[in-house]
């Protein structure tokens, strides 16, 4: 009986593997049917390249004498537009031309990331750059790194470890992002603020920071009311339904404060369907976060009013810290908070869209 079960389990696993490859094949076939052959081969090539580089070392090993060896552990670039931009920025900075011999490893799982870190330590990199999937579990591996004389720099995310284990950490200040946005909203001098507040996944750092500022402002000011506070879990469709339900119930509102661009887009779709005007000088103020390119374009066309930046471009900061460390200086601050802008539809320019859109 047990044997039979194990045979079945094994065959399921094998089938699963075969199945995966099969379904990928079928989807490619389907897409090929309508796109040109050249395009598809190009796409296939890039995907092939991606799969091979993933979790393996990139860049040749020869002539490492003059180059600084860095091991970069990041989250999966497929996670979000933010992460894609972040990864592209790092790849652009840590090249041979800039004096780096960089290896990249990606995972959304903490234990896999720790394994990659150990591999990098064995490969004797000079610097370990880390965007940790989880805050816990990093102590022992970072101690190993320190023992091997490898300097660790955290970017994008912090960890719960002794600060002596890393040289610097470069992070976004989500509270400041929220505060900048709320200050901007306050500067609009509306006589009444009736806000629909669409939140991200509850408990995430971005949600807490962006909600906190608005919550305390609404509690402090008598003419600020949050008419609806709901989480749409970063999901445009949910945001659309939430705003739709506010419209259907006839509640008055003049501000939509969405904690990311996707949700703002969903909200705007609901406004459009109900014939409520939005944007600069219109009935409803639309606010989003993350500075996706399409969102900034909506600002440029004055359909939205405000977009707060969550800066994914940490590479230049890391670069200057490494330069400092190489010349024997210690970084002035351990925790470096990045500059983050808020864009106003009234003042945004085409260049901003190009430079800051992700």
């Amino acid at each position: 009986m047990k044997k039979a079960i194990s045979v079945i389990m094994a065959s399921i696993m094998v089938l699963g593997l075969a199945a995966c490859s099969k379904s990928e094949e079928t989807t490619t076939k389907a897409t090929t049917a309508a796109t040109t052959a050249a395009e598809t081969t190009k796409a296939a090539e890039t995907t092939a390249a991606e799969t091979t580089t993933e979790a393996t070392t990139e860049g040749a090993k020869e002539d490492t004498g003059s180059l600084i060896k860095v091991g970069i552990i990041n989250n999966d670039p497929n996670e979000s537009g933010y992460r894609t931009a972040n990864d592209a920025d790092l790849k652009k900075m840590f090249t041979k031309e800039n004096g780096y011999d960089a290896s990249f490893a990606y995972s959304l799982k903490n234990d896999e990331q720790i394994q990659y870190a150990q591999t990098f330590i064995q490969n004797e990199v000079d610097y370990l750059l880390l965007s940790a999937a989880d805050v816990a579990g990093w102590d022992s591996v970072l101690q190993d790194a320190q023992a091997a004389g490898i300097k660790v720099i955290l970017f994008d995310r912090t960890i719960n470890a002794d600060p002596s284990l890393y040289e610097a950490s470069i992070v976004s200040d989500m509270n400041k992002e929220g505060q900048t946005a709320v200050d901007w909203l306050a500067s609009q001098n509306l006589s009444e603020y009736n806000v629909i507040h669409i939140q991200g996944v509850m408990g995430s750092a971005a949600q807490q920071g962006r909600s906190g500022a608005l919550d305390s402002k609404a509690a402090a000011e008598s003419n600020w009311t949050i008419v609806k506070q709901q989480t749409a879990e970063w999901n445009a469709e949910k945001a659309q339904q939430i705003v739709q339900s506010v419209i259907d119930s006839g509640t008055k509102f003049n501000v939509i404060y969405a904690e990311n661009d996707d949700m703002a887009k969903g909200a705007v779709a609901a406004l459009d369907a109900a014939g409520i005007s939005h944007g600069v000088g219109k009935d409803v103020i639309v606010m989003g976060f993350d500075c996706n390119k399409w969102a900034l374009e909506s600002l440029l066309s004055k359909d939205w009013n405000y977009d707060g930046q969550c800066n994914p471009f940490q590479a230049s900061y890391i670069d200057s810290i490494i330069k400092d460390l190489e010349s024997g200086k210690t970084p002035a601050q351990k925790t470096i908070i990045m500059d983050e802008k808020g864009f106003d539809a009234a003042t945004i320019t085409k260049e901003d869209v190009e430079n800051y859109g992700i």
Binding site: S23, E24, T26, A30, Q230, A273, G275
Partner: protein, 364 residues
Amino acid sequence: MNKSFFRKITSNQMFIPLMALLLLVVVNLIVDPGFFKVTLGKNNAGNLVFSGFLITILDYGSELAILALGMTLVTAASGGQDISVGATIAIAGSAMLRVLCGSNSRPDAIQAPIIVAFLVACLVGMLCGAFNGTLVSVFKIQPMIATLILFTAGRSIAAWINNNELPIVPDPKFAYFGGFIPGIPIPTTVFIVLICIIIMALVLKFTNLGLYTQAVGINEKSSRLNGIKPTFIKFLAFVILGLCVAVAALIKVSRLSTINYSVIAKDIEMDAILAVALGGNSLSGGKFNIWASVLGAYVIQFLTTTLYKFNVRSDALSAYKAVVVILLVFFSAPKVREYLSGLGKKIASKKAGKRKLAGKEEIK
């Protein structure tokens, strides 16, 4: 003996979803009769459109209703459910965008006619269905395990189709499918659902699909002995569901003219299965009533919209749906059914007794 009126109603499959619907309507009527107000207004494109909670329910319930059609067939034929529909919506939607936008994620004009993109999406959806169907029917894998593969991998495949970019369809006409066609004040999705229902009704009426599916679901062996191919029927059910997935993907993608692979149609598979269960269909296969499932789908959307109106946190919605599931399980348990039908008989016989006493009348 005589089947009482009470029993006739409760044993009808439509009973559960209709009661649920009635309950929701009554609750909303008591709390706020304004819930049922439908107004005619202009949208931002300058067209006259209906709006109101009822319209919202009809509009947003569409994807679920379409999925319920296919999911009922799959459930009836295979005695299991497809949990990959959310992920395959992402795949079909992604394929559609790939065709519409080409390799450039921000084109100035669409690269292919919408109909071509839709047909490609249909093909992709059916291929995904065929893949699931093959695993279930030929390799005899439990449907939930077989579809777990695409459930896990689907969203990554969807991201890969578009090189992980998020294309935006530039043509405003594409938004008609999830919105309004100029000059028609009713959401287009309502018409799409109607078309799907009519096609399904015709198929069930003029082919033996319904009968065969039922036969396979009740007893695979005896249906084979009677000349039906259970393998093919199961396979077909999954392919039909794949087609439904493609239509749902069209609506989903059209609503926002773009896609987010990780969240599009999130958790919709559970709602679709719930719709089938709410429709009184046995989740272990066999007899089915496809229209009860469709009604179940709208009941779920009615519940969702009602909860949104009452300011229930959207991450708590699933808890309320869980209550519905518990009630369903409770009322479909054989013990409870027995007790209820016993109760029904008692009431009926009491009534009958009274009437007999009064006029010695025969009841039929």
